[in-house]
């Protein structure tokens, strides 16, 4: 523990070729699994929150094996904030659109006035839209939490 802390204070924890290669091979599968969990969320275990956490965990894994700069290459701080806000906006926007169109808040069958479809089908589609929003928001919040905690808010190299 003490040794680890001294090492962390003097320099980054060091890079390992084995860990980096393993992480590079695992990340696409983790992200595919996260997308699967989000898309199948409304009729199987999982959903927007869990899928979002799995997607965020893939970026956290990348930040652990490499450093924070490598993750900024894939998803910059600005993109992160915009995507997270977009996710929250999709969620509340879908809910509010239902209320504006004459239904209740989060009553997806009211959306049949925009695209004519069976109200029961719209209930299934509506929860899918909400879960995409939740997944985006959770993914970006998780990544941003790890960035901030691991670099002490400085957004430099990280651990």
């Amino acid at each position: 523990m003490k040794h680890l802390q001294e090492k962390a204070q003097s320099k980054p924890l060091g890079e390992s070729l084995i860990v980096q290669t393993a992480v590079r091979m695992m990340i696409p599968f983790i992200q595919l699994f996260g997308l699967y969990v989000i898309v199948h969320g409304h009729y199987s275990p999982g959903g927007g929150f869990q899928g979002g956490v799995v997607l965020g965990a893939s970026f956290i894994l990348m930040a652990l094996a490499y450093d924070l700069q490598k993750t900024f290459g894939y998803i910059s701080e600005r993109t992160n904030a915009i995507l997270g806000s977009t996710g929250a906006l999709i969620y509340t926007g879908t809910a509010a659109l239902c209320a504006v169109l004459g239904g209740y808040f989060l009553d997806y069958s009211a959306l049949a006035k925009i695209i004519p479809m069976n109200p029961i089908d719209w209930r299934s589609m509506g929860i899918f839209l909400v879960e995409v929003g939740v997944g985006l928001a959770v993914m970006n919040i998780m990544v941003s939490l790890f960035w901030d905690i691991s670099s002490g808010g400085k957004m430099d190299e990280g651990l």
Partner: protein
């Protein structure tokens, strides 16, 4: 729902919970907390709440342990005041 398995996992959960608050080392405590989360995940999956078990496995055992360790690496051994 096998009550013997329930009891076994529940005993391990209690042991891990007590160990988490008695261990002096912060890194050890957070690792044991990860074990506790994973055992809770097993317990929930065994009792049929697969959705909750999934959440516990991703958030409890996965991300929160990483966040705890990242926070601990920012601390020092002795307090300065």
């Amino acid at each position: 729902m096998i009550w013997q398995l329930d009891l076994l996992i529940l005993t391990l959960v209690v042991v891990c919970g007590i160990a988490t608050i008695t261990v002096k080392d912060l890194l050890g405590a957070s690792v044991i907390f990860g074990v506790y989360s994973f055992l809770m995940c097993l317990l929930w999956a065994e009792m049929g709440a697969v959705d909750v078990a999934f959440t516990e496995a991703t958030v409890g055992a996965g991300v929160s342990t990483v966040l705890f360790i990242a926070a601990i690496l920012r601390t020092t051994r002795r307090s300065k005041d």
